[in-house]
Amino acid sequence: MRFERSKEWWVKRAIAEGNATIGAGLLARDPASESEIDDQAAPREESRIAFGRFINLMRRRHGMSIEKLADAAKVDASELLVIEEDVHYVPGPRTVYQLARMFDVPQARLMQLAGLTAANDAGLVEEAVRFAARSEAVHKLSPEESAALSAFVAVLGQGEPKRSL
């Protein structure tokens, strides 16, 4: 988009701004309270629970500590901790990308799960909820958790070519 306006046109408008500090949107305001900031529909939150759980289980399946995964995937350990424990937290796109690479799952699906892109796929949300309900964040993967995790990885991979590392 290109603008063809004179210098005077822009100057007049800039001066008319007066002493206003212009801003809009929650992000511009203050990211303060995580629970209030979440105005998204319920499915996003549900899928985010699954996202945190998914990262937690995948990490444990690989026998990694948070620190070790952070190191291997080149992401912040503090962010990983929040991802696993705080369902309101929306991770950065780069982090999701790195984790998708790390665990060899489709990036686009993981983005949906993390709430970064709209999940236009009701099936995925449903599967995510089912997965979250079947797994629990305990120290060792139970056989049931392991099975739930495998099934969910398969769902994530459906209809999308797997990323090659």
């Binding site: 988009m1 800039a14 929650l26 962010e79 796109p93």
Partner: protein, 205 residues
Amino acid sequence: MIDSSTIFLVAGDTLEPVEAELRDGIEEQQLVDWQTQWQPALTEILRELARHGVPMADWPQSWHWDWRQKRAGVAGLLAFPGFSIMADDVTQGLAQVDLTRSARSAEHQGKPLAYVDYLEVAPWNRSDRGNVPRFKGVGTALLTAIAALSVDEGFKGRLGLHSLPQADDFYRRTGLIDLGPDAAYQGLRYFEMTEDRARAFLEEE
């Protein structure tokens, strides 16, 4: 390919014109500026408030920053269409638009509009707390770009936004309709620009 136009801001103290660039995109450089220049500047403002013993309750807009959240939000801007203003080789303002929302005002209810998801000027361009901004016109230029985008999209300039309290007066003055506080947005007031108003706003000299 990012398009860029030459625009003009004015210096906050002398009101002298300053050449600037309006880019229809947010790229890596803008995010780096945000991280390395905006964020420290905001932290400095907070430090100053604390130093002067201003109670937190009196800080502008309840600035109880959670940088982790804000950083993640800003990093997400790469994934959406946006605008940025550059002057002196530094990012002076950022905006992001959502083209999937509909109008709420009686006049245009249900019609698609350009929703301003995020619009922020660099901390040194703020004029609240009695500061003299380095540049004026950054917010207006971003709003101009979004109104023009709305026209380009066939939305006839229709535009919606949740205002920050210190900007409410400006939006009213600019002729946006005030649809009141929105509980879903921490009580921020929701404003809309009508087609007529957008036409006048974008009018050439």
